[in-house]
Assembly symmetry: D2
Homo-oligomer: 393 residues x 4
Amino acid sequence: MSDELNIALLGTKFMGRAHSNAWLSVAKFFDLDLHPTMHTVVGRNEQELAAFARRWGWREHTSDWRQAVTDDRVHLVDIGTPNNVHAEQAIAALEAGKHVACEKPLANTLAAAEAMVEAASTSEGKTFVWFNYRRVPAVAMAHKLVRQGALGTIYHARAAYLQSWGGPDTPLLWRFDGDVAGSGAHGDLNAHIVDAIRFVTGEEITAIEGAVEETFITERQVLDGGSGGEIAGAGSSTSGRMGTSTVDDAVAFLARLSGGGIASFEASRVATGYHNANRFEIHGEKGALRFDFERMNELDYYNPGDGPTAGWRTIDVTRGAEHPFVEAWWPDSHGLGYEHSFVNQAADIIAMIAGASPVVPMPDFADALRTQRVLDAAIEAARRRAPIPIDPV
Amino acid sequence: MSDELNIALLGTKFMGRAHSNAWLSVAKFFDLDLHPTMHTVVGRNEQELAAFARRWGWREHTSDWRQAVTDDRVHLVDIGTPNNVHAEQAIAALEAGKHVACEKPLANTLAAAEAMVEAASTSEGKTFVWFNYRRVPAVAMAHKLVRQGALGTIYHARAAYLQSWGGPDTPLLWRFDGDVAGSGAHGDLNAHIVDAIRFVTGEEITAIEGAVEETFITERQVLDGGSGGEIAGAGSSTSGRMGTSTVDDAVAFLARLSGGGIASFEASRVATGYHNANRFEIHGEKGALRFDFERMNELDYYNPGDGPTAGWRTIDVTRGAEHPFVEAWWPDSHGLGYEHSFVNQAADIIAMIAGASPVVPMPDFADALRTQRVLDAAIEAARRRAPIPIDPV
Amino acid sequence: MSDELNIALLGTKFMGRAHSNAWLSVAKFFDLDLHPTMHTVVGRNEQELAAFARRWGWREHTSDWRQAVTDDRVHLVDIGTPNNVHAEQAIAALEAGKHVACEKPLANTLAAAEAMVEAASTSEGKTFVWFNYRRVPAVAMAHKLVRQGALGTIYHARAAYLQSWGGPDTPLLWRFDGDVAGSGAHGDLNAHIVDAIRFVTGEEITAIEGAVEETFITERQVLDGGSGGEIAGAGSSTSGRMGTSTVDDAVAFLARLSGGGIASFEASRVATGYHNANRFEIHGEKGALRFDFERMNELDYYNPGDGPTAGWRTIDVTRGAEHPFVEAWWPDSHGLGYEHSFVNQAADIIAMIAGASPVVPMPDFADALRTQRVLDAAIEAARRRAPIPIDPV
Amino acid sequence: MSDELNIALLGTKFMGRAHSNAWLSVAKFFDLDLHPTMHTVVGRNEQELAAFARRWGWREHTSDWRQAVTDDRVHLVDIGTPNNVHAEQAIAALEAGKHVACEKPLANTLAAAEAMVEAASTSEGKTFVWFNYRRVPAVAMAHKLVRQGALGTIYHARAAYLQSWGGPDTPLLWRFDGDVAGSGAHGDLNAHIVDAIRFVTGEEITAIEGAVEETFITERQVLDGGSGGEIAGAGSSTSGRMGTSTVDDAVAFLARLSGGGIASFEASRVATGYHNANRFEIHGEKGALRFDFERMNELDYYNPGDGPTAGWRTIDVTRGAEHPFVEAWWPDSHGLGYEHSFVNQAADIIAMIAGASPVVPMPDFADALRTQRVLDAAIEAARRRAPIPIDPV
């Protein structure tokens, strides 16, 4: 392989844009051993696709994903398509010997995810999963602090990913269709926080101790033109008919950590007041950490060893000499945004393909399967439920 | 009854001080229909008791609680003793026709609590339970806002009471002795937040869906002189021997609300970084509320109807003309402290004995029994556990 | 002198209540060498006075202040009257050999304040000024940290005391009458923050470098019954006539500190959004401190020496073993309120009369005169103004 | 002119990168009427320049700025060079009929700035100044709210731009050389907040009422190779010699607003604890606004009309349908970073060149001159100083 890294991107929606931006920007900010080339973009709608390719600077475009992932000129296949096609596309790419970077969650079923891991195990290609929040500097810093022993034995991990766009006025978008989306808040949001707790603590989740799954709003307005719209659905017109949501609006569960601690996870699309509150608190014998993506440039750290001046330290994780990934960007304390996490991950993907180490551990397919197993077991727990009723009198 | 209200207080420790202060201060700040008289204080250690009575201005003192609660001159018996004697003392007082104000939790067993409710149902005395946090102005305000419809249908209630004084260096205080304390964080802390969610939402908890109970630190240093010490144990000397903690350090559980929402509760004594984080978040279709006792003079409120300027409103609940209980105290925005919640409750207890309405609903024994049933069911759920293990590979 | 300390209080309004509460509570929470006795209270309205005395437990009451301050049985005269009578009352008390605790500001004119210092210098009585915020635990802690060297050379002090009750709808209360009040926001609020910066930094203010004084609302509605009302004026009825405010609504000024740093001060009654934001930020070579009375139980501290985990530490200054004054109150992290600062000061006043040292330095008349000189110089600077106009084109 | 907009960029340091990124990204995220082409980049060091051009995708590069700004193919000259060459370069570009976008502050002297405005008045080119913070969505939103009447009469504006990289360990960078930098914190930081207050309030600053200028650290270590380094100076080696800083470390001043309000401004490089705290608070009769760039995705708003639920609303200004500039980026609540403000400004510059209106008002040279006059008058006030000393006794 020359020092060129030719990329084929599958998908042109929200993640298609986020990944295109990452491949466009990464070589501007990071010094790389391989030069990423935006080679081919794959989409279904030819006309939109051409415009997308032109706007973002993809050299070629095609609606034939299979051709793209087997193209000899392509080195890395980047999958940003719906969850239910990840497996087929990733396996084909791996069989063609490509490196594969896949959006989370790994697949829409556990079986599909296992097949992907199997395919990865026999391919020369390396695999990567876009759990992008690992590379928000504050989260990467949390990982490093735990590894350095800042927390000691971990007692509690408390994670929630709270959004509120899914109220009764939101129409029946594709995200409410279980056949397409796989699940609701659970697969979309709990996936991120399960990965985050595994990444930051360095521990595994060993058991689910209880779970609740709930669809608060079962009937929603059907969109004109079907369930195609993106999250916001702003300006979408509805048909006047009602349809049934077949996914969860919220899932919460309790779990055990391999180090002896207990953990809770909660995902919701109806947590009024929160828009993107991807957050966690971790308490250990020697310290505690706290993060909320709504203030993504901050990490809170508590060190009881500070004695009379102990207090939650609000660290602005924006100082290049001290905090991961930051040096590539701007002078100190010029905050980063959402998409920087993708650019940071792109830099680490390129580094790993070139044989170097990532700044912080990168999830491959096998790693992402572990997260998927947790999500699966949580749903099983929710459905097996044996509630203890409380006497109302 | 004249306009004098003679009070007998049982207990001279932490709660004995908090209640003494309440009875001392209430008539200074509130205009009352009955005048509270600090009549008799009851304790076990005669010498300490005399000093306590002198310091706080109790007219009489005795180590014979039974005599005090049946004394003809006494109108109100205030119970601030350990949980395992609440029932006997309260029932005796009720049988003597006294009004009874009892510390939370109502009793150390469900059976004892039921007996107390039974006694209350046949007594002329009124009953009150010191769930004092209801009368923190911010919490009372939250209750009022929900009652006014500010939240609409409630989807989520998320409550936690997080402390951190129970680490491995803390010796084997009486609070770690299950025979004395009944339970650990669960009875001490979850009791408060279960009451808070019931109070603020106006809903009941109908079922427990899963629970975890954990004792992280099982062996602790035995104190010289046994397990007598107060929370901090500062300056206590230890014996060099180790003993076994027989209570939980943390209990978390998931539950259903009567209005269709889901709820989570968590209590911990090892949540490093938090000292008294008695907090909740409640999300409804039309709004959300957030409270943390560590910032007790603030209530956060989110109104999606605010449109482009919607944001969490940090209300400083300190304006006399607008916020419950505040007018009695100081000019606007001169913040209150912990003990004011007891004084506020004392004012409402006196008002109710005089036949008036309290500012916000007051828990009686029957109401507190409902909270106790929830705590009991949660522990049952934790012990019935059927975890779903997760394949480690 | 026996171990009894007989107190005569002058004034029954806001400060009369705050001081009564302090003398009532101090012996309940603190172990004292002298026992404070609420001996005599002085007020102008006989009927209100009797009710006040009964409510708070003052043994005697009189409308003749001169008799009270010369009464042989009285040891300490506590002055909570309007600023324009402080001097006469304090001097009379000092001449009678009493200890005197006087509300801030020391006097309504610099000449009066100087006369008070002169009287103090020749009296056997000790003097104290109620700059109560020094004894908010967070502020006392800030003082201690600076003294321990936590800040090093101080570059900046930035203080503001921001309220918002003085908008155009507020009627012409006595606080807007310059003859009675002396000044507006300046004397009332800047007095506190000038004292705070002097206390916390341990430095003096050596020069005023510029100042602005402004009365935004010059005409206000006259109250029925004249300008008698308290701050809130809630429920007051107005006469329909307009009258002229003769005090400032806001005063800001820039100053030099004796250690080479620069400082800014700002007081306002029309800072919409703030109710009692008595706050400061102090930046030194080695650290920084930040306080806001609206979160009075917190002190923020920044230590650059924390390296990659440096961040503002939000210290909840509520841990008895670690933070000043807290041990007297409740277990850790049971927050204090406004009036506790007065009780804390009462404890230190009693300690000093008994010959002991206060927990942190106590301002006497001479010390308060230094604060008053700063306020006076600031107004002089504002009135000498020589603005540099800016070409509008 | 075709729909191509050819850009020549002058400068390749911090601002060269920020502007390059803006021109690279703007057409990816915004739908534009003209297509920006990264035509020519100008720098002094040929070798670095070639690498810079290659990295960022500039078609051509040259060290001859005069040739670039007069090149017939160039439509827009973008100036990101040191302040002392802005005037010469901008005037040459305007004389050649180019549009000119110039970094702030407009020039290093008032005379130079006036000459630039003069040149602009006779050129066909449009002018723009990179006061990029106007296009942080929260700041743009603040402007819109004021224009909609959310504040009413403005009483107070309180602005500060606080950094802390300039302590005694920081060597003698070019930013401490008055001949190169013009001034220190004042020109660098106060320029931004004077523009911000003018922009958000819509008012002019009419007079300076007092000012302080201070150089706390006068002697600094000389860098090996002279004063060339960038802000951080990380890893720079020093020569062992000391040199003299000839710029201010901090400047504070008080001012009057055209609407009758008063304002304060403060810039510092030694405000330990703050890294990029570009912040303001504005209080009006009907409401208040608060912003801090360290939490750039939030705007705080207080509406007294909210009555009992009035509180500071923390608005996350990240909702595309509701907040300026956001829709171009990601779904709701995926926060933006520092450089997005430049991209937003690039979009508005292109819109204006194409004849459309900007989202919020854009500063041209004449507008930036008004900011410069304020800065100049503030320094004049600081140097004219007539301090009022305070008697130390």
